[in-house]
Structure formats: C-alpha cells, structure tokens
Subunit: 179 residues, 2 copies
Amino acid sequence: MSDHLQRLYERFRYRGRKFDFEAVGLRLPNGAEGELETIRHPGGAMAVPVLADGRLVLVRQYRFPLDRWLLELPAGTLEPGESAEATIRRELAEETGHRADGWAELGQFPLAPGYSDELIHAFLAWDLQPLPDPPAQDADEDIETVLMTPAEVEEAFARGEVDAKTMAGLALARGRGRL
Amino acid sequence: MSDHLQRLYERFRYRGRKFDFEAVGLRLPNGAEGELETIRHPGGAMAVPVLADGRLVLVRQYRFPLDRWLLELPAGTLEPGESAEATIRRELAEETGHRADGWAELGQFPLAPGYSDELIHAFLAWDLQPLPDPPAQDADEDIETVLMTPAEVEEAFARGEVDAKTMAGLALARGRGRL
C-alpha cells in the first residue's frame, strides 16, 4: 500500500480552453479503487485590492454556469508559463482598469477540492492607480468595477451574491491585519 | 439580444457519479458566442458544527484531485430528491459520527462559478452528540474528525491546509454572531 494516489488507467480526457477534465481509474491511499472525475487546472490568481479609504475593488461579473452576475475579487487563470504574480497584474488591469504599486503574497488555497485541483494564489494589492489606457476585456467577459467596504461584501455574501474565493481572500487579508 | 444565456448546441456531456460535465455552445447576454465547459452539480450542503466550548468540528479528509489531506467543515453532495438539510444531517453523521439537535440555515453561496454551477447550502449546527452507532463512511472516503478553534482554522488556512468553502462558512457564522 502506498501513501499516495496510484493512477490505474485513463478513461477519458477533455482538453478545454483553460483547463482539462479527466475520468481516471485510481487506487486511493486507503486501498479503495474507483473511477473518479476531476478538473485539472493550471491554478488561479486573485487580488484583494485595498484603496486608501479601506474600500475594496471588486468586479461585478456575469458567470455563465449560473447565468447571473456575481460580486467577486478580481481573479483569473494562469496561462502556460505565466507566474501567479504576472497573472494577477494582468487580470487587475483587464478587469478593473487599475494597476497597483504595492503587492504582497497572502498565500494559496484549494478552491473546490472535491472535483478540481485548482489552487488560488492570493495577493494583497494597494497603492492603486487608474490606468490611462486600460486593456480590453476578454470577449466572453462582461465586467464592471464596484467599490465596497468589507462589511458591504459580507452583507452581499449573506445574500448569495459573492463567491467562496472572495470570502477566503478577505479572511487571508484580515489575518494579516490588512482589512 | 436577451438578458439571459442562450444555449446553441451541446458538443459533449459526461455523466459522472455525483455531477455532470458539459461542453456547450452558448450566446452570452452581451452577445458574445463561444464554446464553454462547466460542471453541472446538484448542489452541496455544509455544516458549521459548534461545540459548547466554541471549538468547531472539522474533518481531515483525503482529496484525490490534490493527492493530499485537507481540513474542511463537514459537507457533501445532494443526492437526487434529497433536501440540503437531509444531506447535511447525513453527512455530519457519516463524516464525524455526530448528530446535532440545533440547526439554523446560514445561506447559500457559489463555490467555483468560473466552471461549476454548484451552490453550497450552509447550516449552523449545535447541541452536538456523539452517535452510539455511527454509520459507515463511503468506501472512497478517508476521514477523521478534528476539533479546532476558529483561530486555529484561520492559521491552518494561511498554511494552505483548508479549503475555500470552509472559510466561507466561518464568515457566514461570524456574520450571525455565532463564532
């Protein structure tokens, strides 16, 4: 018996634009065998952008799996060969039209470990400046910037309008005494 | 142009044990068209089980997508026709060997809205009692119960050992003044 996973066979793999989906036969560390499905993801990067007055820069974003708009901290998927820090600088510019002069790593966490290997790398961002010539958004994104206090984010979360990673990012920033 | 999503065609569907995965052609509310992939999930239910001394009941659980153990609040996937409240009572028993006599709904939130439609229904649970004859765990689960203070959970989260939904659940319980 091994302490780690053994891959027995691959039944299926779907190569998506940003991540893969696979169904594989596995032997788990406890000896159980089964066919399990998971998203194989290159990782995500998220910013907790804090303005001088303590408000946060969030995005109001259309999410097609739910067919509705959510409030979220700016985030995106790592591109091949891209560092998490490069990803989040790019996404902050594309999604909010801002750059930050202050950056600090907050840590990384699993988003949906029941069916995805995605880890989200979280960064605190401050000294925010509007870009004179912001980059274009992706064609399939529909995003506007929203400024909210942490208390307002928590109220919106209790109404189901905010996603889990955003609350995880607030917890990390608060743990560092930065909210 | 519609305010909502239009489904143009289905390229692919995988029927998994607990959820489906699909690749579909979509027209988004902003008019953009594309082929997008998502997990179609029946929903999850999570407990924030609070002991009389303020500690939380978590589970240390092997997660095959990451091939490592994580600390998480007890949770599980809704079965066909099952209510979220029935799911979480069942999962609390299976995963921790406890039942709760006090239950309150905390709300629901999207877990990974970039590629999943899963909503997690969160419940506060108190008046916890060990079951005299706890039910068996699923064969592919490998779970032990861990008691931690909220501060200890936050420290473990900063080390990457806790998932996003757990931090979201703590935020909901704290917002109700229950942590």
